[in-house]
Amino acid sequence: MTDSLIRSLKDAVVEMKIDETEELCRKCLNAGMKPIKILNECLIPALDIVGGLFRDGDYFLPDVLMSVKAYNNCYSILEPLLKEGDYKSRGTVLLGTVAGDIHEIGKDILLALLQGNGFDVIDLGVDVAPDTFLEKARETNPDIIGMSALLSTTMVCMKEVIDLFTEAGIRDKHKFIVGGSPLSQRFADEIGADGYGEDAQSGVELAKSLMI
């Protein structure tokens, strides 16, 4: 019974059946399954399958994002029920599009993919001033700080953010990753970032590698 429920829920996440996932998740709980078991044996493996389908070219961004949405719906049901220490996120990421720039689609894709890969993500939105990055970082102590820009005129702002952290003496407490259309690895190296992602998927791989 529980095995078939687990399988159905896993399939529903992979197949992007958002409405069914919530119902199936509640059914699993009603059947007496532990929240951590649902998470570990069903939801996370489902996202691994989705990741594989994406890598193989069978799934595209809208598919992955729908699956992540289904995952998030279930996770929000399970979260209050998880015991302290039961579940450890892969890491915390603070994301924002830098000051002067309001292009957030790339950042939003990365956000969803990071969530789908077990990261906790704090989204600062767009047009984020260097001070705000510093303030929020002190508040939430993220492992990684991700900055994006679409305009070549705003990408210079990324250096200001990193410099500000250096002045404050907390540069090495966080890993800085950058991304966006006009950027390159060279630019990332020049401003002293810890990593650069060409697209959202590479951003996820980068975040994972920085957590090891």
Partner: protein, 487 residues
């Protein structure tokens, strides 16, 4: 709506070409190189001059017999469940060209074609989504000429679910082909209502016939199998230099062959073909990649549909020698013009050098190109769902559509998703080894070939095919010549 058709002639111009065709038929006639055919045409009401072999066609004969050609027939694959309707409103794509040289898929070396090449090509066609037919796409240099038809049909039957075809090469070979197709399909009754094999009948321009091709046509007609009438008149050498003049001559040649098929056996499925083009005026050679070839093919399509007959047109052809920009421009332009004109059986994917050379990479690339063109022809669907008013309202200013269910539900149908076109950022492309489209196509072709498994066919059928191929292999070339009829 669907994208509008590409047309180059108006109704009155179509009528004019038709009227002038009737005049050429009556005043000049065409040369018919088979005695038996001349006798049948005389019985049908034509005026035959035995000495010159010229046959003149009165208008009544033309009108009576052209309308006997069916509007539609069913094309099927070696797997009879795989079927396509061929009529003036449908569209399929195929190879055709008889390459004699090819770029080796593994080494990139330019070399003579082999039996292995046509085997690989047949496998690729089996797997490529947008190509439905092989024709005599590759001419192998490494096996005796008189066995090519049997070897290729045998391989096709064992490996490809889609359709096949060759040239109508005289009495004995055409009968061989039909016999082997009957064996492959499990008996002659299985190719009456649907046809897995299309024969191309080459026409000798201006206004003549090639003896062995005409004999082949007569055999096909006797057996009720589809024939594709295909002049390759060249404006400036074998046809008037003006395109309208070429069309009159071309139309006469095609209709004459359609009429002959219907005289032999009324109702024989036919296609109005066109490989006509312009001559290269410095050397007198062919120019299939010329923009005028697209115009001629579009006009031929309109003429075919004027008679309510499906049209085969040449496209994807180029005079380029390598996979260069000319190669890309000419194949794309001709495929687009011909597909948008509404031709119904479009050849010659995978070719270069006026269809005498080519490469497997190009077949894979043409497949993707056809996918894009078909998406273009499908046009823009406008309805409540595609107008997405609710979604626009929901997302609102500053939102994004990527996470909307509407996006996930529709993107695969609304967007053509290319396999070979590179849309990555430069960094990713560089990391991936800076591969260009030809290299990506080569990898795709190699993958298809590695994954292919032969069809699971009845062992008795396989044995019969093997026996027939052996019988032909033991025949001498002289026996083929001896089987020809009187000219």
């Amino acid at each position: 709506m669907k994208s509008s058709k590409f047309e180059v002639l108006n109704q009155q111009e179509l009528q004019t070409i038709h009227q002038h065709t009737l005049e050429i038929f009556e005043a000049t006639g065409i040369k018919v190189e088979v005695k038996k055919m001349r006798e049948m045409l005389a019985d049908a009401g034509c005026i035959v001059d035995e000495k010159t072999r010229i046959v003149k066609f009165p208008t009544t004969v033309i009108e009576n017999y052209v309308k006997k050609a069916p509007r539609e027939f069913i094309l099927c694959g070696a797997d009879p469940e795989v079927q396509w309707v061929i009529n003036p409103d449908t569209r399929v794509y195929g190879g055709l060209g008889t390459l004699i040289n090819i770029y080796d898929l593994e080494t990139g070396e330019y070399r003579p074609t082999t039996m292995k090449d046509i085997e690989n090509h047949t496998i690729l066609i089996d797997h490529l989504d947008y190509i439905q037919s092989n024709q005599m796409d590759i001419w192998p240099n490494d096996i005796p000429m008189q066995t090519i038809h049997c070897e290729t049909i045998r391989f096709w039957a064992k490996n490809c679910r889609k359709s096949f075809g060759m040239g109508a090469y005289g009495v004995l070979a055409t009968n061989d082909m039909m016999n082997m197709v009957e064996i492959a399909m499990g008996g002659k009754e299985n190719i009456v209502d649907k046809h897995p094999f299309i024969n191309i009948v080459s026409i000798q321009s201006p206004l003549s016939t090639a003896q062995i091709q005409l004999e082949g046509l007569m055999i096909l007609a006797e057996r009720g199998q589809p024939a594709l009438m295909s002049p390759e008149a060249m404006a400036g050498t074998t046809a008037p230099v003006t395109l309208a003049g070429l069309l009159v001559q071309h139309n006469t040649e095609v209709l004459a062959h359609i009429i002959m098929a219907q005289v032999v056996n009324p109702g024989t499925p036919v296609m109005y073909g066109s490989v006509s083009t312009i001559a290269e005026m410095r050397r007198g050679t062919v120019a299939l990649g010329a923009v005028e070839t697209g115009l001629i093919s579009a006009a031929a399509t309109q003429m075919a549909h004027f008679y309510d007959i499906p049209c085969r047109a040449v496209a994807g052809a180029t005079e380029a020698k390598t996979y260069d920009i000319q190669c890309g421009i000419e194949r794309q332009r001709s495929l687009q013009m011909v597909a948008m004109a509404g031709a119904n059986y479009i050849t010659c994917v995978g070719t270069t050098e006026s269809t005498t050379a080519g490469g497997h990479e190009l077949t894979v690339i043409d497949n993707e190109l056809i996918g894009m063109l078909e998406r273009g022809i499908r046009g823009i669907e406008v309805n409540e769902n595609t107008l997405a008013l609710d979604v626009i309202k929901n997302v609102g200013p500053d939102g994004n559509y990527l996470m909307e269910e509407h996006t996930q539900k529709h993107f695969r149908k609304e967007h053509f998703i290319p396999k070979l076109c590179d849309r990555d950022k430069r960094d990713i492309w560089e990391k991936g080894g800076k591969r260009d489209m030809a290299i990506r196509a080569r990898e795709e072709a190699l993958k298809i070939l590695a994954d292919h498994e032969p069809r699971d066919i009845d062992p008795n059928v396989a044995r019969e095919l093997d026996n027939y191929a052996e019988l032909v292999a033991n025949r001498s070339l002289d026996e083929f010549y001896a089987a020809e009829w009187d000219a």
